[in-house]
């Protein structure tokens, strides 16, 4: 037998206008197990809360029903009242007679009748509620950061500076990411390397950071506070513990690989460091380019290495880290513009993509910072085409956000380094950001030509062989433009890393249709994910510029810290559990759970649920044929009883 108290709120006239609240309270009093039923003007007010608290004591209530607004409004408020009165907070039931009754009808008879039915269901359900308690678990204080671009570097440094131990996992042989490829950064035009490399060095120097380059995450187990993450160390064929970074090997190496850092514009050695400021500044061997691996002999590097650091037998190795939280900051790729045949990328040597152009400007780049094209000539006329694949239903619907600004930056650098005429073909100029509009104005004054119309086609000039024709409509005059240029720069869409969906699977993240990681809430939880304890930062979430990326990285670091700063944490109480006596061992629960919470105990032939991983959705309970799974707070009995109550009147 329960002792139920029912408290009907008027919400001023919000409810009372279309529900006869006193009649409802009287009705409640007739229901089995209801020992007190009252109505009051504002139940959520202090006197209202006090009334409930007093009645809990006076009538020794063991269940409380508040008949008021949506549980999404005040469930927490009234739960606190119960807690404060010594009653388990889960013994509260809210009946939503405002949003779902009084506000959606004008008819007081209908409103009252529906309220009675809902209340009757609530009484049925309340009777079966059980007190629930949250479990407390230990939290591992370390953090893993996946991705060593500017976002990952920033987050790792922030966390390390608070004294946390950080594992920074980078797929490539150096950290730095795309930012290391840039020459200047908009709108201030400061040198990218100058602001990035000190940070890269700090990572190297920081004793709290374990830098793991040429590494990939291969398995993720566990849950918030207690992740076990297995990382694959890819074979480098150079023992970095022995290597003293003399780089004699790279000089002697006859192998030729394609420089990723220079976007394939030049070759590099088979044993190499990606660029002079790489961190760590120790070489690796590119198996596909190495003469020894291809032809079976050479080993010149081995001969010149005094440290005996070359190890052709090296294998991939795996190690498992224990961490409490994870930040994923895996960045982006540029979309491949070759399939957009109308722009001739890959067909005409004069067509470049944005990252290639970044390298052309860079003094450490393939041309030593001079703007010369593949044929060695300096361009006389240059067209920069915006929105290639961005804002495009046929490719990527999103605006890549940074292209307008870097295109302006390109225009400036072209003006600075060449005497070429520079044209921008754009749809809308997006310069929202601190100092951005000012930068736009500055570029306008540098006499860059702006053509408002999306580049439609790039063709070879019939009259001047080797030159290119850009076709577009200048929508301002309505005239069709055929512009002869020497160089075309495409500003392609930014897309998530090709393996972002694999990573999403590993970490149980959801992605949008292109593979950008989904945040838990676009506004209120932009750095959290649906997986507790895993945060995202930078372009892997959506395209953004460096300032925003850095801000996100700091934010993600702070979020991760809120978890690992405590040594204990409380878990969801409304989780599922298995009644082993009823479990038939079908493992449906194991197969369906998106969080991997249920697992099968082979020896007992039954499933169990790791409550730390359970989010309480109840899917397992509904796929359990023998009803062995109890979805706490939404048990089969509770739902059935509520349904029966709702259908009675």
């Amino acid at each position: 037998m329960s002792r139920i108290g029912v408290f009907v709120c008027h919400c001023g006239l919000n409810i009372a206008k279309t529900v006869r609240v006193s009649e409802l309270a009287q009705f409640a009093a007739t229901l089995p197990d209801v020992v007190v039923a009252k109505d009051y003007k504002f139940m959520c007010s202090t006197p209202g809360q006090e009334m409930i608290a007093n009645d809990i004591k006076e009538h020794r209530l063991d269940r409380v029903i508040v008949t008021a607004c949506s549980p999404l409004m005040h469930e927490q408020t009234f739960r606190k009242v119960l807690s404060a009165s010594g009653l388990n907070q889960y013994l509260l039931t809210i009946v939503n007679i405002r949003e779902q009754v009084s506000w959606v009808t004008h008819d007081i008879d209908e409103g009252t009748a529906k309220s009675k039915a809902l209340l009757n269901g609530a009484v049925n359900r309340a009777r079966l509620l059980a007190p629930l308690t949250s479990r407390v678990i230990d939290v591992n204080p370390d953090v893993m950061v996946v991705g060593g671009g500017i976002a990952g570097i920033q987050a790792a440094l922030e966390l390390a500076n608070t004294g946390r131990k950080v594992y920074l996992v980078e797929k490539n042989s150096t950290i730095g990411g795309h930012m290391a490829q840039f020459d200047k950064t908009f709108p201030t035009l400061d040198c990218s390397a100058c602001i990035l490399t000190p940070k890269m060095d700090s990572v190297m120097q920081n004793k709290n950071i374990t830098l793991m380059t040429s590494c990939e995450v291969s398995e993720v187990k566990g849950y918030v506070g207690n992740f076990d993450i297995t990382v694959k160390q890819k074979a480098r064929y150079v023992d970095h513990d022995k290597c003293n970074a003399c780089l004699a090997c790279t000089e002697k190496c006859p192998g030729k690989g394609v420089s990723e850092w220079d976007e394939g514009l030049v070759k590099r050695k088979a044993i190499y460091i990606p660029f002079p400021q790489a961190v760590p500044q120790k070489p690796i061997i590119d198996r596909d380019a190495c003469t020894y691996f291809i032809k079976g002999k050479c080993r010149l590097c081995e001969k010149v290495c005094e440290q005996k650091a070359i190890d052709f037998e090296q294998q991939d190795t795996f190690s498992t880290m224990k961490v409490g939280a994870v930040i994923v900051a895996t960045g982006y790729d540029l979309m491949d513009t070759k399939p957009l045949v109308q722009y001739g990328y890959g067909k005409y040597p004069g067509v470049y993509n944005a990252l290639e152009v970044e390298r052309l400007f860079n003094s450490a780049g393939p041309t030593g910072g001079k703007v010369t094209m593949r044929d060695g000539k300096e361009p006389q006329a240059i067209a920069i085409l915006h929105c290639i694949g961005s804002r495009d239903k046929n490719n990527y619907e999103h605006c890549s956000r940074v292209c307008c600004m870097y295109s302006l930056k390109f225009a400036h650098l072209f003006k600075e380094k060449t005497s070429a005429d520079v044209y921008q073909f754009y749809i809308d100029m997006r310069a929202a950001g601190k100092g951005y509009e000012e930068f736009y104005n500055r570029i306008i004054e540098e006499d860059v030509k702006f053509i408002r119309g999306k580049g439609a086609r790039v063709a070879e000039s019939a009259d001047e062989p080797g030159r290119l024709i850009v076709e577009a409509e200048d929508t301002i005059t309505g005239k069709f433009i055929k512009l002869p240029v020497d160089m075309v720069v495409l500003s392609p869409a930014m897309k998530p890393r090709a393996d972002s969906k694999d990573l999403a699977r590993l970490f149980n993240l959801s992605t949008d249709k292109y593979g950008f990681f989904m945040e838990r809430h676009p506004k209120l939880a932009p750095l959290s994910t649906m997986s507790e304890g895993i945060f995202i930062a930078g372009v892997c979430q959506s395209p953004k510029d460096i300032p925003d990326t850095v801000a996100q990285a700091n934010g993600a670091a702070a979020e991760a810290l809120t978890i690992v700063v405590k040594d204990k944490m409380e878990l969801e109480a409304t989780t599922a559990m298995v009644n082993p006596a009823s479990c038939c061992g079908c493992q449906n629960c194991v197969r369906v759970c998106p969080y991997g919470a249920p697992f099968f105990k082979e020896d007992k032939g039954v499933s169990e649920i790791n409550e730390a991983l359970c989010k309480g959705c109840g899917l397992c309970a509904s796929v359990c044929p023998s009803s062995a799974i109890i979805a706490r707070h939404f048990t089969n009995e509770q739902v059935l009883a509520e349904m029966e109550g709702l259908m009675e009147f």
Binding site: V341, Q342, C387, R391, D392, K393, N394, N395, I427, D428, R452, G453, K454, G455, A456, R457, E471, A472, E473, D474, T475, G478, F480, K482
Partner: protein, 391 residues
């Protein structure tokens, strides 16, 4: 002319209601107009047309007839705007007010009175066949849908016969429709007469139903696109080039006669290519013919140029210098080809006119892929062609 305009949103609304719903999606980036083959050579500007439509501005009627519905812009549009629907809707709204250009009046009149665009006598629709070919009856597998143009236009009756002859050899069960059928109405729809289009469509559908038609072969890509997109029932529709390609692949038809090293280029009809996604079948057919050296033009497949005959263009006069077909002929000749092959009676008509007015009709021949294929089968149906276009 006053430079002040006032947006007239009722008109914009009317366009949207007539099927131009996509108006509102356009953000005026200019991809369409930059892509449109007309922009460089005429005053027609598809982006402006949409802009005028968005605001319901006066003057729209001045350039609404410029579009030949080649679908290039639709495929490129980053917003997924169905520009052809907008053009059709605008034409529907404005031509409802009697703004049909002179050259289209005969076209629409003939459609209305005789059910075909060529002022042909309906009873004589099948005269080209001279009773040599079977009529479709329930139980037959394929309906060979003869386009009005191949029934009435003397140049194109050759195409009808070529097709029929190949069908005779193919071993499939087929028949031509009786004379009671109407034009598929595709061009009529693009001209904006949606009401008349619906009338023709439902009459044809009644014929299909009465005769239990489920599989249709068309010779014109325009009919193909109409049946696929507008007729709304589950017919299996094939372009004839697809059927030949299949029969060749299955070994049921094999070209024998060597055409002696003739250099052929192929023009993708907009309605076969971009509208229906058929690019490979006609090329496969050409490649199957012995003694054909096949060359591509610079703009081919998805990038193909338009002949200008779609969207009612076939029936509209264009000034010299404003004809896409002239440009296309030049492009074809630049490849060194002596035969420009295509797979659409409209394209054939447009190109033959251009070749004649450009005085190159000796240097380059215009042929349908079907005709070339028939030649390679060693069959000659050439008869003296009397140019007595009914128009």
């Amino acid at each position: 002319m006053s430079q002040t305009v006032t947006p007239f949103l009722e008109m914009s609304q009317a366009i949207m209601e007539a099927g131009g719903e996509a108006l509102k999606k356009c953000y005026q980036c200019g991809t369409c107009s930059g892509t449109c083959p007309w922009t460089p050579i005429t005053h027609f500007n598809i982006r402006k047309l949409v802009r005028y439509g968005q605001l319901g501005l006066d003057g729209i009627e001045e350039f609404m007839w410029g579009c030949s519905t080649c679908k290039f812009c639709v495929d490129r549009c980053p917003r997924g705007v169905e520009l052809i629907d907008i053009v059709t809707a605008i034409r529907n709204v404005y031509s409802g007010g009697g703004m049909l250009p002179q050259s289209l009046r005969a076209f629409v009149g003939s459609m209305s009175a005789r059910g075909n665009p060529w002022s042909g006598d309906q009873a004589k629709r099948n005269d080209w066949a001279k009773d040599q070919y079977p009529l479709y009856a329930p139980g037959t597998e394929y309906l060979f849908w003869t386009c009005c143009t191949v029934c009435y236009d003397p140049r194109n009756t050759k195409l009808a016969k070529a097709t029929a002859e190949i069908l005779k050899l193919s071993g499939v069960s087929w028949g031509i429709p009786s004379v009671e059928v109407n034009c598929c109405g595709e061009s009529l729809k693009k001209v904006g007469d949606l009401e008349l289009f619906d009338r023709l469509k439902s009459a044809n559908r009644d014929y299909f139903k009465a005769n239990q038609v489920s599989k249709i072969i068309t010779v014109s890509p325009h009919c193909l696109a109409a049946f696929k997109k507008d007729y709304g029932e589950d017919y299996e529709v094939l372009h004839f080039s697809e059927l030949i390609a299949r029969l060749v692949q299955e070994g049921k038809l094999s070209p024998k006669k060597d055409l002696g090293g003739v250099k052929v280029t192929y023009h993708d009809p907009c309605y076969l290519g971009r509208h229906s996604g058929v690019y490979d079948a006609p090329r496969d057919v050409l490649r199957s013919i012995p003694g054909v050296e096949f060359v591509e033009m610079e703009r081919s497949r998805e990038q193909s140029m338009c002949c200008g005959g779609g969207g009612g263009g076939l029936w509209m006069e264009k000034l010299k210098g404003e004809r896409l077909s002239d440009l296309r002929i030049e492009e074809a000749m630049a490849t060194g080809a002596t035969v420009l092959a295509t797979a659409c009676p409209y394209c054939i008509t447009m190109f033959e006119d251009s070749a004649r007015t450009l005085n190159v009709d000796e240097q380059i021949k215009i042929k349908d892929v079907t005709e070339l294929f028939l030649e390679s089968l060693g069959i000659n149906i050439d008869e003296p062609v009397v140019d007595t276009c009914a128009l």
